[in-house]
């Protein structure tokens, strides 16, 4: 990404809560500002220290911050001086254009939702995750909801389909994203009553390419560009993928060490496996994005290293530049997929 391309977008970064510490955050920020992205960094004084000497970074000292061990919505309201609340307010005030955080997911979602507000007609914002699909070319598969809403209505699932489709078009460059609904069978009557109702509504919806139900085994099979589900199922699916990938990687490593011939095979495979590991590295996708708001909010991985931080900032910048929020609002309105329209139908 050239400096010229990124000029003009400022990202509000909450530096608190990153598991790998402020030095890793600083390294990621340094890489992002080298692309020409401006960063306003929010945090406690000691966490901002490594960022002070970086050109293109403005630091804003916060008096407080919010961790993972509290009820997010109430805490965001009770701590107006917390770093994530200040970062969200910065975007709402127009001083910056996207929130990025590698800290508490819940606090980021609450602060972003309260400060930026939901898009007109959106009932529930959803967390969209770009699944790192191994092998092949093309954009990642977008899974939503990744955990923002453990319980949903059919109306929400329909809106998630539109939100994901608009994001996929605007940010990932997929011209006509295929939208699938996660269920326990391909037939339209398979699933919970909510899923069956959502299937019927999506099948008759205009403005998106709904391909029907997809199953868990299809998550990494490029069957769909967007996969829609509730936040409970989505989060379980995501963690299952992560855990399975780790277990398989460990098993391969152990098998490769089980004898001299295996070790030789392992050595020969090492370059290919290294490339695969790189494809599956969550740091490459830049984290999750909260869709359905009137602004851009990115939730980085808690364990993000410098690359993850840099890519989360770049994702925020890219989402702003591609006018994803505006294009999402237009799609929802044009397709009659706003809350009022869907309720009336």
């Amino acid at each position: 990404m050239s400096a010229e391309k990124a000029a003009g977008v400022t990202v509000a970064l909450d530096v608190m809560g990153a598991e790998r510490g402020s030095e890793a955050v600083a390294e990621g920020v340094r890489a992002a500002v080298a692309d020409g992205i401006s960063v306003r960094a929010f945090g406690l004084a000691e966490a901002l220290e490594p960022l002070l000497a970086i050109d293109g970074v403005e630091t804003v000292q916060a008096a407080d911050w919010i961790g993972n061990d509290v009820e997010p919505a109430a805490t965001v309201r009770a701590k107006p001086e917390a770093s994530i609340v200040l970062a969200a307010a910065d975007v709402a005030a127009g001083r910056s254009q996207a929130i990025v955080s590698a800290g508490s997911t819940g606090a980021t979602m609450a602060a972003a939702t309260f400060a930026l507000k939901r898009l007109q007609g959106v009932r529930r914002p959803a967390l969209a995750i770009q699944l790192p699909v191994p092998g092949g070319e093309g954009a990642a598969t977008v899974l939503l909801d990744g955990g923002a809403n453990t319980e949903v209505r059919a109306l929400d699932l329909v809106q998630f389909g539109f939100l994901g489709s608009a994001f996929c078009q605007a940010v990932l460059g997929v011209e006509a994203p295929r939208v699938g609904l996660l269920s326990v069978g391909e037939e339209d009557k398979k699933g919970t009553p909510t899923v069956i109702e959502a299937h019927a509504a999506l099948a008759s919806a205009e403005g998106i390419d709904f391909i029907g139900n997809v199953e868990g085994r299809d998550l990494l099979a490029r069957q769909a560009d967007v996969i829609v589900t509730d936040g409970f199922t989505g989060n379980v699916a995501l963690k299952t993928i992560e855990g399975t990938a780790r277990a398989v990687a460990d098993a391969v490593r152990q098998a490769a060490r089980s004898g001299p011939v295996s070790a030789l095979g392992g050595l020969l495979l090492r370059p290919a496996l290294g490339g695969l590991r790189e494809q599956l590295n969550p740091d490459n996708t830049g984290g999750a994005i909260l869709l359905g708001l009137r602004g851009v909010a990115i939730v980085g991985h808690g364990s993000s290293g410098p690359d993850g931080i840099a890519n989360a900032i770049r994702l925020g910048e890219h989402t702003v530049r591609e006018r994803a929020v505006e294009r999402t609002a237009e799609l929802l309105e044009r397709a009659g997929a706003t809350r009022g329209s869907l309720r009336d139908n």
Binding site: A73, R77, F114, R118, Q120, T338, R343
Partner: protein
């Protein structure tokens, strides 16, 4: 800030009509947020924060949890600001 109860009522009705996409004529003092308007906790949080910002008041979590109807919200705000 001198604000009449009627003005607060109008503010609440306009906010709810816009955010929930329901006709403003369907919202009266006795309207219940959850049962009649299908509003959820996020909708109520946003209403409370809108009222806090507009009228410079503070609503605690406990107070917010007791707001069940449009009248409850309007009465709460009216009691916090001088008439």
């Amino acid at each position: 800030m001198a604000v009449s109860r009627e003005e607060v009522m109008e503010k609440v009705r306009e906010h709810l009509a816009s955010e929930l996409e329901v006709p403003v004529g369907d919202i009266s003092g006795s309207t219940r947020f959850r049962e009649d308007l299908d509003a959820d906790s996020l909708d109520l949080y946003e209403l409370v924060m809108e009222l806090e910002d507009t009228y410079g008041i503070k609503v605690s979590e406990e107070e917010a949890s007791r707001i069940e109807t449009v009248d409850n919200a309007v009465d709460f705000v009216a009691a916090q600001i001088p008439a």
